[in-house]
């Protein structure tokens, strides 16, 4: 085997120190080394987005990031998106409620991309959602319900953050 390089990173809030091949892709580190198989691989060319994770808070396609590039970074995967252990993120709730998934293979990447979109634009129009998810392919749903779910989750999250800002009246 080739030379390895030591890296340190945090994944879903948990610190890891590993020695990796310089060519190891972040997605393979997550899947094969850390056992986080919720992040999927669907293409070789950064088109499908099934491998989308957050790297220091921004969505990246982890098949196009070397593990060494994630040195000293914070990574969030689908397994770490929801706050609690059993809770669901509003996007996960909305995907379930709106039937925004069928085979589920693109779903983790789609949700991670949507979370990034909503972080940048909390109230996107339908067109903004469609353009914002252009980097994620789904073959099952025709996107209709995915768009609806992102809109619904956005409303839910805006409602929650508005509620958080409103002083409680007693």
């Amino acid at each position: 085997m080739s030379t390895t390089v030591p890296i340190r990173l945090s994944v879903n809030g948990k610190p890891h120190e590993l020695d990796v091949e310089p060519r190891l892709l972040l997605v393979h580190l997550l899947r094969d080394r850390l056992g986080l198989t919720g992040t999927h691989v669907g293409c070789d060319t950064s088109n499908c987005g099934a491998c989308t994770v957050h790297l220091d808070g921004e969505a990246v396609k982890s098949c196009t990031v070397l593990a060494v590039q994630a040195d000293e970074a914070e990574v969030t995967t689908i397994e770490g998106l929801a706050a609690g252990d059993d809770g669901l993120h509003p996007l996960q709730e909305a995907f379930w409620e709106d039937h925004a998934l069928q085979c589920g293979y693109c779903t983790p990447g789609m949700i991670m991309a949507a979370a990034d979109l909503l972080a940048r634009n909390p109230d996107p129009t339908e067109e903004e959602i469609r353009l914002g998810l252009e980097g994620n392919l789904c073959r099952c749903t025709g996107y209709h319900n995915i768009v609806a779910a992102v809109r619904d989750a956005a409303a839910e999250m805006r409602g929650a953050s508005a509620a958080a800002k409103t002083p409680e009246v007693v």
Binding site: D32, G38, T45, I78, W96, C103, E134, C138, R139
Partner: protein
């Protein structure tokens, strides 16, 4: 096909608590939205070897030498195998379509090439090693000498005298010729006022499931376990047994979570057989996961027909006959059933129209490309496309409004036997079109279209009124003495009530996204008075439940779901006898209502399913002669196919400066019989229509003249994104199928079968003022722009 006047299934109200028909959220979703589902590539076994496959860069060549020594010498490489090493295999890939009286040429197709390659991407050698990156490096060191042979890629050229022959032993590139006709075809064409003729190309596409194929094999104590991303674990076990010569009971095939199929995983691929062979050979688990490039090269393609269409009509608009000659590009080798697919075009060649005579002639052709086989719709999208495009063309020819022409020819009486023997079970073609036009508001559209045209904006609307055949299918119609498929097409189900009164359902279908864990639970819930959450639906493992026939041909609900309903009914019947015995009533006086088995008229006299289960599993006081347990099996083989139908309307806008087509509105009114879960139906319609939009506008598998695949990744193969697909306006009518007690029809393929002609007709409507009268798919900007320029000349 399908007995004329096939008997109407007796329908009883299941009783229970009304879960069927409700848009419940899916039971399968929690694991999928949290990343906890297990797809094949997520599985890890101790000491697994990874496989990398050496593929042919040549489309047609003799293999003169293979040198594996450099690869085998690399650190971490366990073994390298070539076709010669696989000499102990029992059989090549079986092709299961053997039509009576028709010769089909079937070349031997082995997991690794033997002496010759026939397509780019054909597997030539496999490298096994401990590290999945290192085996890819090693595979590059396998040196293969090829002696190139002349290549043929165009199926019509392949049929010409002097064309390069793909398989010398047959002396021809013709795979088979097959024909199905009914009525006085010659007579109606001789008597016709008008005969419309068109050549329609239905180009090659990919299934493009987002999960690439993959397989993991383990050989332990003389037993093989294969985990595979497949739609057909049960069929795969039979075929693995045949190819590997392993006794069937020693093979277990598991389809874990499967990331989409669309027909492309209705297959037993060489790699599945190869990893199994390698696991037995090495004694270690062997895993192979396709890259997207592997998948585009060697996951079977679909469509690829050239259709020569003739329609005979009278001046008053009566369509009397249709004759289609189909040239099907089969590629160079078959997988399990490719050649049969174009014959399904014939099944619905009459469409929703009352033709007096129909004829479909199919010629299959070998070319130096990869195999074509079933992709969502499998032969029926081609039929709808050619028919619905030609109906619009005929309307123009006759000067009759295209919807009026359709309505004058709609079949209105059901069951309806078509000239070629198929019996449409039920339908209401005016009904779905009426609803579609209501949603569209055609008058308003036409006013808007006229105003926009004055401003140089080209908008059009196109329609498709379709019927499709699914619910595969009656074994006697499809089987060895009928269509010639070497198998039965029943489906199995087992419903097991557990001692505490909840239930397990085992289905022989193998869902991969359709939501059957939910819809089947709804069906059983109503029959047993349970909540769907108290019912687990188990599938995709040949070691659980009865032998099944898997998932394809929109059969899972109308055949698999009906089997589940009937098995649940058997459980209900037995439970009623137990309840009657305990409550001293007659079994026929017991009903399931509000979650319990109650005496009619005295609802307070009741037992819960848990009470019944206690009686059944502690059998101290069962009715005389009754066996213990509460566990029933059904094998259901339908009497007929089911025939979903509907009307789709598509509004497009064409930028005449660039040729770019934008879909402005999509209205889909589909009738798939009784709805079990409307949420799931809408999802299937959205996805099905999107699949067709991809073919109509963007997607094409293209080979160059040397047989090189030029659309080998998602960079070049235009899978549509959220930005290209419109929102869908969906509605349903519900015309129950008389074929099954649920009254259901399939919906997984319906919208894909319906949708492409609506787009083409819409674009032609938009471009009518410019004189563009016909276009083949895909309607790329380049093609549309060129047609506009040509028409202006």
């Amino acid at each position: 096909m399908g007995a004329p006047g096939a008997e109407t299934a007796e329908r009883e109200m299941p009783g229970g608590n009304g879960y069927v028909g409700r848009a419940l959220k899916r039971k399968e979703d929690p694991r999928l939205i949290t990343g906890r589902a297990t797809y094949v590539d997520d599985l890890v076994l101790p000491s697994t070897l990874y496989a990398a496959i050496v593929r042919s860069p040549e489309a047609h060549a003799r293999i003169t030498a293979i040198d594996t020594s450099a690869a085998a010498a690399r650190e971490g490489v366990e073994a390298v195998f070539t076709g010669e090493d696989l000499a102990d295999m029992a059989a090549p890939c079986p092709m299961v379509w053997v039509p009576p009286g028709v010769e089909v040429h079937v070349p031997e197709h082995w997991p690794l090439a033997r002496g010759k390659v026939g397509y780019v991407g054909q597997a030539v050698a496999v490298v096994l090693g401990d590290d999945k990156y290192a085996v890819v490096d090693a595979a590059e060191q396998v040196v293969v000498d090829y002696e190139p042979l002349p290549v043929v890629v165009d199926p019509e050229a392949a049929l010409e005298e002097g064309a390069p022959i793909v398989h010398e032993q047959f002396g021809t590139n013709k795979v088979f010729e097959w024909s199905l006709a009914g009525g006085d075809v010659e007579g109606v064409f001789a008597a016709a006022d008008v005969v419309l003729e068109r050549r329609i190309v239905n180009h090659r596409t990919a299934g493009a499931a987002i999960e690439p194929r993959g397989a993991l094999a383990e050989w332990r104590e003389g037993h093989l376990t294969l985990w595979s991303s497949t739609q057909i674990p049960h069929i795969a076990r039979v075929i693995l047994s045949i190819q590997l010569g392993i006794s069937e009971e020693r093979i277990r095939v598991v389809a874990p979570e499967v990331g989409g199929g669309f027909g492309s995983k209705l297959q037993v691929y060489g790699e599945e057989v190869l990893v199994a062979w390698c696991a037995r050979k090495t004694g270690r688990p062997v895993k192979w996961t396709a890259t997207r490039s592997d998948d585009m090269l060697t996951t079977h393609h679909g469509r690829d027909q050239i259709d020569y269409v003739r329609i005979a009509a009278r001046r008053d608009g009566k369509m009397t006959g249709i004759h289609v000659r189909v040239i099907q590009d089969c590629g160079s080798y078959h997988l399990i059933e490719g050649p049969v697919i174009p014959t399904f075009t014939s099944c619905v060649i009459s469409g929703v129209y009352d033709f007096d005579a129909v004829q479909t002639d199919v010629v299959g052709v070998f070319t130096n490309k990869f195999t074509t086989d079933a992709i969502r719709g499998a032969g029926r999208p081609e039929a709808t496309h050619l028919l619905e495009v030609c109906v619009d063309q005929l309307a123009d020819e006759l000067g009759i409004d295209r919807l009026e022409l359709r309505r004058r020819n709609f079949i209105t009486e059901f069951p309806n036997e078509r000239p070629h023997g198929f019996v449409y079970d039920s339908g209401d073609y005016h009904g779905t079109l009426d609803r579609c036009l209501e949603l569209l508001d055609l008058d308003a559209f036409q006013r808007e279209q006229a105003q926009l045209r004055e401003r140089g904006v080209h908008r059009g609307v196109g329609f498709s009124t379709y019927v499709e055949i699914c619910g595969l299918g009656p074994s006697r119609a499809l089987g060895p003495d009928g269509w010639g498929m070497q198998g039965g097409y029943f489906e199995s189900a087992q419903v097991r009530v557990l001692p505490t009164g909840t239930a397990m359902v085992y289905t022989g279908t193998s869902p991969h996204g359709q939501g059957l864990e939910t819809s089947f639970a709804q069906i059983v819930a109503d029959r047993l008075g349970l909540d769907p959450d108290a019912i687990e639906v188990i599938h995709g493992d040949t070691n659980t439940g009865p032998f099944g026939k898997d998932t394809y041909g929109s059969r899972s609900l109308s055949v698999g779901g009906e089997a589940v309903a009937r098995a649940a009914q058997k459980v209900q019947d037995k439970a009623k006898r137990i309840v009657a015995h305990k409550l001293e009533a007659a079994p026929e006086d017991i009903e399931v209502s509000e979650g319990a088995f109650r005496v009619k008229g005295s609802p307070e006299q009741a037992l819960s399913l848990a009470d019944v289960a206690t009686e059944a599993y502690i059998p101290a006081d069962l009715p005389e002669g009754m066996e213990a347990g509460l566990d029933e099996i059904c094998f259901y083989d339908p009497d007929n196919f089911v025939w979903p139908f509907g009307a789709h309307a598509c509004v497009t806008e064409v930028d005449v400066e660039t040729g770019r087509v934008e879909i402005v509105r999509w209205i889909a009114v589909d009738d798939c019989g009784r709805a079990v879960n409307p949420k799931l139906i809408d999802g299937q319609v959205h996805g099905g229509a999107a699949h067709a939009i991809g073919q109509a506008l963007y997607e094409q598998i293209r080979y160059d003249e040397n047989g090189q695949l030029v659309t080998g990744t998602f960079v070049d193969y235009g899978l549509p994104t959220a930005a290209e697909i419109p929102s869908f306006e969906t509605a349903r009518t519900e015309t129950p199928s008389p074929t099954n007690t649920l009254g259901v029809k399939g919906v997984g393929e319906a919208a894909t079968i319906a949708a492409t002609p609506a787009i083409v007709n819409s674009v032609l409507d938009a471009l009518r003022p410019l004189g563009v009268s016909y276009l083949d798919m895909p309607l790329t900007p380049e093609r549309v722009w060129a047609a506009i320029q040509e028409a202006r000349r």
